[in-house]
């Protein structure tokens, strides 16, 4: 059953009481919340995802977003995120309840799913090959990711690249795409049909909203992809679109530094990471126009098999 098949009243009743069981990529989540904006966010963004009765299904992560039970909650409403009954973060203003759920889920996965090498990077796929987009905040990574998945690329993840330690394949986790500040109106203008939920203001990341993942990406969320490219995007006002090869060794070092669990898994992380880099073509990518950027990515994906990475 898909989440959109639950009536709004049923979803809210379940969320308040037993919680809902939700499947996202390789993980199952149990989510409980009495907060209206969390119910609304799930309805708006997770409609295509599989749900089950929370009492009958095993879940990898049990999470909740609820108001703290203190007097303060009346004076200045807040919410807290809990994972298996533990609260790893300080409470946030009520307006940030939905982003807090998404950030909390990212934390759960990046702190616990060590059967993957997990890199802090967006990842999209076309024609069977994945493009990994690692980049610091402000580089235009989320905007580019949103533009690509609205233009025929499959969303694997906007935040966590999950590399299977046994196979080297990249697993999909096509949760909503987090958009920040100027990228929100930019993506609305780029694709008026894209659904972007209500923005939360004054968060640690500025104004944040989430874009619903494309239906096809959710439908194919159990299909892994082979690494194809590692591309470092950099949005620069007025820049001409430019794709430049970059050092594989330095790319590996960057990925190792930006992996959540590289140090934790030791030599295995080195083996998995270097195997990935060996298969992938590595580039620096500068752009200012989203449509031109997407055209460059499309050309990469459509290159003849002989020109592809690994050949």
């Amino acid at each position: 059953m898909k989440l959109l098949q639950l009536s709004p009243a049923d979803l809210r009743e379940r969320l308040r009481n037993t919680g809902i069981w939700l499947r996202t990529g390789p993980f199952s989540l149990h989510v409980q919340s009495r907060v209206e904006s969390v119910a609304k966010g799930l309805t708006d963004l997770y409609g295509q995802f599989e749900v089950r009765d929370a009492r009958e299904a095993f879940a990898d992560f049990h999470v909740a977003v609820n108001p703290p039970s203190s007097l303060r909650s009346w004076l200045r409403p807040q919410v807290k995120f809990s994972f298996d009954g533990v609260e790893p973060f300080k409470p946030l203003p009520l307006d940030q309840a939905y982003p807090m759920l998404e950030w909390g889920l990212n934390w759960c996965i990046s702190s616990h799913a060590h059967h993957y090498l997990i890199i802090h990077a967006a990842v999209v796929e076309k024609n069977g090959l994945a493009a990994i987009l690692p980049a610091p905040p402000g580089s235009g990574k989320s905007t580019l990711t949103a533009g690509l998945v609205l233009s025929g690329w499959r969303l694997l993840s906007d935040e966590l690249t999950l590399i299977d330690r046994k196979t080297g394949l990249i697993h999909a986790l096509p949760r909503p795409v987090s958009l920040k500040n100027e990228s929100i109106p930019l993506i609305r203008a780029f694709s008026p049909d894209a659904f972007i939920n209500r923005a939360s203001h004054d968060t640690a990341k500025g104004t944040v909203a989430h874009m619903r993942p494309p239906k096809a990406s959710v439908r194919r969320q159990h299909e892994p992809a082979r690494p194809g490219w590692v591309i470092f995007p950099k949005w620069t006002a007025g820049a001409t679109t430019e794709l430049q090869p970059r050092s594989k060794a330095q790319t590996f070092m960057f990925l190792a530094r930006n992996a959540f669990n590289y140090s934790l898994i030791g030599a295995e992380g080195f083996r998995v990471g270097t195997a990935l880099i060996e298969q992938a073509a590595c580039y620096d990518f500068r752009y200012s126009q989203l449509d031109e950027a997407i055209a460059v990515f499309d050309r990469l994906a459509e290159a003849p098999a002989l020109d592809r990475p690994g050949n």
Binding site: A249, Q250, F252, A267, F270
Partner: protein
């Protein structure tokens, strides 16, 4: 084995299982490491000659200084034995 080395073209990355650290070896460091693996006690003149032929020096510092600094780096990591 303490070190795992993966070469990408003229550069490499090295994992040290003792410290858990990962190191980047630029072309000069990788070439120097290869010289030491093939000839454990090469003369500095031989090293400079070999690396000059491969155009591996920056223009900024004298080649001998670059060799010394790089060699010290490789020794600190443990990839080349101390003097």
């Amino acid at each position: 084995m303490r070190f795992q080395l993966k070469q990408f073209g003229s550069e490499a990355v090295v994992y040290d299982s003792e410290s858990g650290d990962t190191h980047y070896l630029p072309p000069l460091a990788l070439a120097l490491l290869q010289i030491y693996r093939e000839h454990p006690r090469p003369s500095q003149d031989d090293i400079v000659r070999s690396l000059t032929e491969r155009s591996l020096f920056d223009s900024g510092l004298p080649p001998k200084t670059q060799v010394d600094e790089t060699l010290n780096g490789l020794r600190r990591i443990g990839l080349v034995s101390p003097k």
